[in-house]
Symmetry: D2
């Protein structure tokens, strides 16, 4: 009845086997300086690196050997400094490009192709010619034990330097395309995270939480109590890393103040007495997956899953920050663009002094002012016709509607600094998601609750006067 | 202490939730005939199908809705007849092609691009323009619960008709590229299969075994005894389906007769007394993955894994069929190309009569003849310089060497029909795999044991006289 | 992404460690004949065995060593023949008994104990004195890797010889008490068995099925289809062995013919269209657990579990054999105790000829006769007031009621041989289980459906005339 | 690809089913005060409780119902206050005792029994008569979802009051016997605990650590680094609770200072460079299992397991506290029983001032003094001939030997308070465990390294002068 896995022993044996194998495999590129690349990749080593890259693709020994060699090169990459990595990426970007002559040739073929059948086949050849050989190399890094994570992290490095040269940008295109394909939503595993989850995983929630900092293990535990839920998406080849996670509070009615949710001392609600699921924090974790989006998928999976688990839950909504609000307000003030009554001016002064944050009772004139400013803020559009608030753009595109303005919603330092304490709820109503999405995408319509719509209209009218 | 998973209940509830969701989602393409496609897809329904395909890509509601709609379409596909599927694939191939005008435009841009930076970005645009929109659609089928298996099976359908039109061939290119990327070796899970494995999985071994038919569950059990091993590769999204599997017998010395290995009544060897692992059956299971190869990877993983598990195992070799041997011999006889002694002629006659199969004692003249014929056979090359035997090509490319000729090796009907009972061993020796592979790929050298090499030389010399 | 567990390697290493340990441990009892016991345990070895038994309890080295030594002795036992085991058990039974003097002493103390406090403590001492030291030894066999299974199998051996001597009977009492305690229902794991279960487990269903033989893997698979359920109880230390299992068919209405359920060719029902769960086979598997009953617990767990999984299931009933029916009928005929009309006589003759089994249409006079005989049969009581049918006793004690008589219910050879083809349904209705049980236990009342009750009354009245 | 288990939903449904069942089941004992017991169990409710207890054993409805009723009663117990529980236990102890008349009768039978066969059967009856019916009731509590934990916790309550009456002591005997049987070492699962273990489990290590307090999650994580190991024993029915756990450090040579091991900032050692496993903390967790010992088993399992995992580890030793050392020294001083040189006196003064704890360099005279005092301390015996140090008794009985005295070994407050900073190593050498154990058990011999033995002799001789 032994449940122990003597992993370290096995692991080490495995390493030994792999090493034996590799001794055979990587007889290839001799490197001047004692066989290893220096962390900063001095320029005189670049030709050797270039040779190694080619060797991974075109070297001796068959596919299995090529992949083993690429994995070895991956280990080399991991030992490089930031400078070294940037150089490595540059060599990689420039070394294994599409062959210009083949491209030119295929384009010539295309121009001469007579009928559509010809053209189809020429187009395929042309597309192949335009696909850089480095794409195949990138895939071969998947032979590393944590190959997918390796590529995600390599992309993080690449994002830091991709604007330096057009080649790096092109490499980033290739790598992003690959990651988009490999992180297809159909592959992702949707999983609930609880206090029963491995500590090594929970530790990552603490590290990755991007909205409301998790200050301690006790804070974390509070977010996994019986009136809370936490869900994450995983990739099967990266099971130790959540890609994105969402924290949910089960409440009676809409929650408006995030401090209430984060209060470790607050009593735990009986889930059977709740009717609303509040998504109060959504975090993406992998910088290297920028542009590969999981948020919409995650939220809608959670709505589905909670509908199943907890039939008593009728409402799904976020409690969201308004990250650009304060800056916008300050700009309006700066530009003297606000028409303020005397009472408004006093309220504004007090709002900016931040002395209200300790005050338990909300101040009506301040609240009234903030709500009107918020209505104006959410009516603002960027050049492309979309709202200026990034969080709003995300939820509105998903088909949610702006449900309620909450002031004071976040009286923490960061809440005040970002948005003078304003938070809002976006509501996810399965019955209206598609219509809202369509109206938003086609006409830029901001779906909002009636009271907010009225306020927006009033504010716009006032603004026009 | 309840270990039951009330799956059917949950499953059905899930279906209900999905249905609710889908009611909202798929308000889209109305179909004349009562809303469903007929199994044979009559021509008048094709425009509706075309509309549905476009709708999956460009319809209302956002990504989540688009994927749900594509999944729905996938279910439609599964209900079609062979005829219907062929039509469906044709519409899919012709409907969502690259836009010719954009392609022409981008080619024009390319020709005008001045410097390399420009060219890089134009090449990316051109490549995108050449990528058919149907590729995105194919990926969206991954939203189906068994989406990856769906695409593999769709490719099986497609392989049956891809030669009919250039568009279908182009669709096959797209689908194959996608599958190659998604079935990257780095994603595959290597797993031992034992008598403790689920019956539902073992049942598939019986169905998929391609070399030596598994005749009953008792036969299967015999192949999973303590002196046997079975390993398979799996894709994380297709965990119920082995992609390829290999059956291994642990023996003392090389095994030469497959009937000895398949004998249900034979006593089970003590693994500790063995020194050789014989790979006596390797099967690929998914027709839809033609051209995506797992065999080399699987064999080398097994060699690694067994090296770890069973340090006493020193030798790794196959016991392989020689599928083209009889046809070649018969052609030689037909063409009177063989210089045979009288003894040879008598042996040949007896060999062809097949009355020897019941004879326990091997007949020396017959064995001698077969071995010489085999040496000649393995010396033959195709136009591309490779051996004419398909199984030989596979193992030699992997770096194995032809180790021993075994006659009689397979006295079953199929063994006689294929190869007059001949079988051979290919040996996988880690220390020589790469050199063998290189010599084979570059010079067409057939690695072989000394006795076989000598025999081949002698036979070639005789042939030249 | 290696999922293989190199078990054999580890196992062998473990064995090596254990061996090393044991070398140290079992320096103890020297055995004349080369150190090992002969399979038949010749009499001259019995003193050595006796010494070994004592050594396991009172030998040197502490608990850990004692358990290791007992495990070693257990391995010895497993190598003995049936004769050897019987001798072993006899020595075990006679060797490590309660000490008569201590017992006598404690009884004397008890008689002298003045007050109740004294008496309490003396009673505890007396109980300890009456507990044979071999009980502790039995527990120490649990140090074997499959210790619990070892004891269950040892009990099976013991049941075969326990009536030979009073000491063996006493040993059986001790062992049974131990097994009753260790197989407490609270420890048992209730688990659904499906076609996804390990083949090694399913194979055991085939071996252990006691009611309707499973003739092939295809037959087994049919019993695990989507309109079937199979549940079993397991002990955590014997996870490879189901203790008892039940096979359930989901049907529309009560099923009356077992051949319909066992027909491999019959179409699979849609579970959503069913309303009844028919328990058509219940098997206990471990002979060594005779007297430790799981049946009631298993059935009631299944009723609970199916109520959860399949809310549409309204009725729970068995389709049960009537094992003593034919013998009873034959005895009545023999004794000329039946008052039969002419039609009855003809029907009886035909019934006994068994030529009706192929006849698809039920014969009304025969059916009518069998039902009346059945009513009379179920009205019969043994000396203790309980029904003479063993299966009836089990279900009635559980609180089920006799719901329907089915003729022909089982037209197989064994069905005809046991019960002239009669089968019956017992219904488990949660609302009445307790009342039925009480009435049965206190007054011997046989709970039955109205039509059966009426028939029983009529038959009894007829009998009285 | 959904990995979520919607447990809460299922759990709640289960509860609903159980409730339905229970409504039927527990129609039984009506309770005056609104049907529930008050937390403090006022005396007028005791008769109702007594009725309930009898009802659980002898009430209507069969075993399944009886167990359900007992589980219900268990829930009642959990809602009681400490006072209420003590009363409950008293009623339980006094209510379901052996029947005095039956006992008297059986004793009379015993006296009259003529031959040994008779006597065997009478002894069995007598033993049964002496077994209190409450034992069966205790087992029925196992029907609770966490039944085993319930009984362990009930024993914790019982230990607090068992000395109050002879009946409570007898109940404790019964409960302890049951737990000893159910926690047989053969059932326990030995498991490694890592940073991958569930947070809910790791949290319990923090709570239960009894030797060197775990001050934070960071401290815990340090104890699970790659140069550390942690192992625990679990019962299959209490998988959320470790029964005992041990913390191990892998070191190069014996470790003598516990602060070095607990230092969060210390670098992590490379396990491949270590040769010694130091057991620096062993904790039992369940107060209710007092007298059921796991320590020896756990330590020896760990030695076995590490021998397998880490063949480079040659030495196994503890770093143990000496809990009674300071008190003993202080008593010697008080009694002026020490013959101290001047240097000794100064060293002793400094030792007692505790000003040395911050001093990195060990003070030779102090160390010399402490070692001599330690030698004298370990030479002391209790009335039963065993050493006066409890930790020494445990390890010596296991067959370990006293390997090294370490001063300063623990300079924490508690280390100084307990033992003036002294710690010792006990070494577990597989080759000598049994001999050491025997010498200890039979002759009270304290196995010790030569230097310690010499010191002990010298000290004893000095003492005699």
């Amino acid at each position: 009845m032994e449940r122990t896995k003597p992993e370290s022993f096995l692991d080490r044996t495995l390493v030994r086997v792999h090493r034996a194998w590799r001794n055979i495999v990587s007889t290839t590129p001799a490197l001047g300086d004692g066989g290893t690349f220096a962390p900063d990749l001095p320029d005189h080593q670049l030709p050797a690196l270039d040779a190694r890259l080619h060797d991974c693709l075109y070297g001796a020994g068959g596919d299995y050997a090529a992949r083993a060699r690429t994995a070895e090169l991956g280990r080399t990459y991991l030992r490089l400094s930031a400078t070294g990595r940037s150089k490595f990426l540059t060599v990689l970007a420039e070394s294994l490009q599409p062959d210009p002559e083949t491209v030119a040739q295929e384009i010539e073929h295309w121009r001469r192709a007579d009928d559509s059948t010809d053209r189809l086949s020429v187009e395929a050849s042309l597309r192949d010619a335009l696909t850089a050989p480095r794409v195949r190399l990138l895939k071969q890094f998947n032979a590393l034990p944590e190959g997918v994570k390796f590529l995600v992290d390599m992309r993080e490095d690449l994002l830091a330097c991709k604007n330096e040269t057009a080649h790096l940008a092109a490499l980033d295109d290739d790598l992003k395309d690959l990651l988009v394909s490999w992180f297809d939503l159909g592959f992702l595993q949707f999983q609930q995270i609880t206090w029963e989850s491995p500590a090594a995983l929970l530790e990552k929630l603490i590290a990755y939480e991007a909205v409301h900092e998790i200050r301690s293990w006790r804070d974390l535990r509070n977010r996994l109590e019986s009136d809370r839920r936490c869900f994450a998406l995983f990739h099967p080849s990266m099971s130790a890393e959540p890609l994105a996670f969402v924290e949910v509070a089960l409440t009676k009615g809409l929650a408006g103040r995030v401090q209430d949710l984060l209060d470790i001392g607050a009593p735990t609600a009986d889930p059977d007495q709740t009717d609303t699921a509040i998504f109060y924090s959504i975090s993406n974790t992998q910088k290297g997956l920028r542009g590969v989006s999981f948020g919409e998928h995650l939220i809608k999976k959670v709505v589905e899953s909670l509908s199943l688990q907890l039939p008593q839950i009728q409402h799904f909504a976020t409690l969201s920050p308004v990250p650009g609000f304060r800056r916008w307000v300050d700009e309006q003030i700066e530009a003297e663009a606000l028409a303020l009554s005397d009472q408004d001016s006093m309220a504004l002064e007090r709002l900016r002094s931040a002395d209200w944050t300790e005050d338990p009772a909300p101040d009506a004139p301040m609240q009234d002012l903030v709500h009107r400013l918020a209505a104006a803020y959410f009516s603002q559009r960027r050049g492309d016709g979309q709202p200026i608030d990034a969080v709003a753009r995300f939820h509105l595109r998903n088909g949610a509607r702006l449900e309620r303005l909450n002031w004071p919603g976040d009286s923490s330092d960061s809440g005040v600094k970002q948005a003078y304490g304003l938070m809002v709820n976006y509501r996810y109503d399965l019955k209206h998601l598609e219509a809202n999405h369509e109206a938003y995408v086609q006409y830029g319509t901001v779906a909002a609750a009636r009271t907010i719509r009225d306020l927006m209209k009033r504010v716009q009218k006032d603004g026009q006067q």
